[in-house]
Symmetry: C2
Amino acid sequence: MALPISPLAPPSLPVLPPIKGVRLASHACGIRYPDRADLLLAEFVQGTAVGGVLTKSLTASAPVDLCRANLKGGKARVLVVNAGNANAFTGQRGITAVEATVGGAVRAFACKRNEVFVSSTGTIGVPLPVDKIVAAIPKAQAALKEDAWTDAAKAIMTTDTFTKTATRSATIDGVPVSINGICKGSGMIAPDMATLLAYVFTDAALEAPAVQTLITAGAAKSFNCVTVDGDTSTSDTLLMFATGLAKHRFVSSAVDPRLTEFRAKLDELLIDLAKQVARDGEGASKFVEIRLTGADNDLAARRIAMSIANSPLVKTAVAGEDANWGRIVMAVGKAGEKANRDRLAITIGGVIVARAGEAVPDYDEQPVTAHMQGREIIIEVDVGIGRGAATVWTCDLTHGYIDINGSYRT
Amino acid sequence: MALPISPLAPPSLPVLPPIKGVRLASHACGIRYPDRADLLLAEFVQGTAVGGVLTKSLTASAPVDLCRANLKGGKARVLVVNAGNANAFTGQRGITAVEATVGGAVRAFACKRNEVFVSSTGTIGVPLPVDKIVAAIPKAQAALKEDAWTDAAKAIMTTDTFTKTATRSATIDGVPVSINGICKGSGMIAPDMATLLAYVFTDAALEAPAVQTLITAGAAKSFNCVTVDGDTSTSDTLLMFATGLAKHRFVSSAVDPRLTEFRAKLDELLIDLAKQVARDGEGASKFVEIRLTGADNDLAARRIAMSIANSPLVKTAVAGEDANWGRIVMAVGKAGEKANRDRLAITIGGVIVARAGEAVPDYDEQPVTAHMQGREIIIEVDVGIGRGAATVWTCDLTHGYIDINGSYRT
């Protein structure tokens, strides 16, 4: 299925630098897609620390179960990701397939079983042709290199229409470190459940508990604030690998003041990737940022913002370039969090359209209409209760979403 | 906007008998729609008892606030409903408009203010041209008659493509009584928040607390089990009027054994109306019944069933006639209620396609495909935990939904 590239795609791909201690390769296994790489293999230097956030789905896939177990060890040597088949809801065969993949990685890299991380993305409920993956591991191993970031990001795509990468640099104790990220995801995206597939790589020297805390906090501000359709995958996985080869002293705590800049840059990178996911929402024609203020607390703010972001009526209105703020009122009302109807204020594209419980009389529709006709829609809502705030990102709901999802398997 | 009639519409309209003590009229006020009636006026005999369920939206409309206040009195003489403008998020002007409508009804019918019930449905945030309604009340009053049910149901329609009515008869103490219902709604429909606009009329002699209990219990099994898009209106209203003119002794308790048949018939009528709403879901091409079993309890079952029913990925798969049960697994997993991945079983159109945590090997796809190509889709899911069960109704998500909602205001 060749989809046109999202009109919201970034104009160019960033150039990702090598990360000391990380080598990557992609390979065409033929799991589902003809004529493209569908396997990502990443090798990490001995001693690499790992942390991660995984889907809260109660029907999580076998690879997610493996990652959850292996995160306890906090060490990583190998990551194997395939696209085209999620190996989810595949029963005992799914578990066996993950074990076979781990076995293949252990043989190739002479690492421990709990240092191998596996992800699968694609169709649910179809047995994974794991033999193809096991056979591919040594071949991909022979091709490992330090600068294969774009190919790596391409190999994990499913319905994505563009490659999602990001990079940032920071200093720790005066020593420069790099952070690279790749991710995939354009449908079945929802908050509060880790996210799609996303991998972050850094040469910073961090103890595993620090990595875990950093990535959990970062996810809350980024991937957990993005939604396409409110649906949550059985496979959502965000992993962060820190090779420790940067020449500063090891940092054991995420709140260490030496990490101030690193934390900020990591959060920035995660938000960058998360926004790219919303920009590639299946069928998206407009990127929507919802800035919610005046809620009882930040969590309430995010819930209300998500209620707006997930409302099919709001999303179709945006698609129709209709500043139908009445539907925003509706979505605030159904969110189940405190809101003061008679103090509610709504601003679209910088123009206040509703205030104090009713439409602003004779507001100038022209700039609002022009804003709705653009690609980047900004909706600000104040619910008039307290100081809770949150920003979330989503896209509109268009015919393209129906086209893509009405025929995904066929 | 003339929409084609839903392909899921019932083949014919039932004939509703007169209800002793109820007279109806519709009138064209020109609020929004040219050339059609957009006002329903109903008059009830003195002593009519009323009960109701209203939206839980925190941005409820001014008419909903009025109904909530007047339900406390338990008596009704007049119902005024307009279509085309929801009088929601209209601030002080909205409250004034409701008061003006009540004043008009009081003058015309010489009743008490708290015996008047008002509903408005349509666009949010636009001031209601209430003068048109007040002027129409005496005109409609002059036209009141006992057999105007179909016209009444037509007058309250917005994006509905067919008229929704239902009727049942029962006996109380051997005395025959009738129950009629009318409703409207095809988008912005979600559970747990009363529902759209629905009105039930009976000549049964019931005290107001009994009416209230009956309608609350009935709503839980009917309108709260139907969803189109997970969106909840600011105006959802379900009211039941009991004129008391049937010649049996007054019943004061909803659990009185004399009401056994009446309760069953009332529930049947409410489910009938609720299903009609799903059948008229905006853009619907298929009616979907989801039967959920094996949950921890009935509430958990309804939540999981609703998670499936509201999933855009499930709904688009149904539209695409794709038996993509992997998405059902996903929706079970994200519902947040207990489910055993390895005991989950899914049946589509009577054919078990997944069992014990994986696809049934080599199940016969042909009857499943044939079922998906039909108009009525039945999905059964057992989540393998306990005895909780629920049935919910929805429709598919099609291009039609986008067409209708991308251009509602324009």
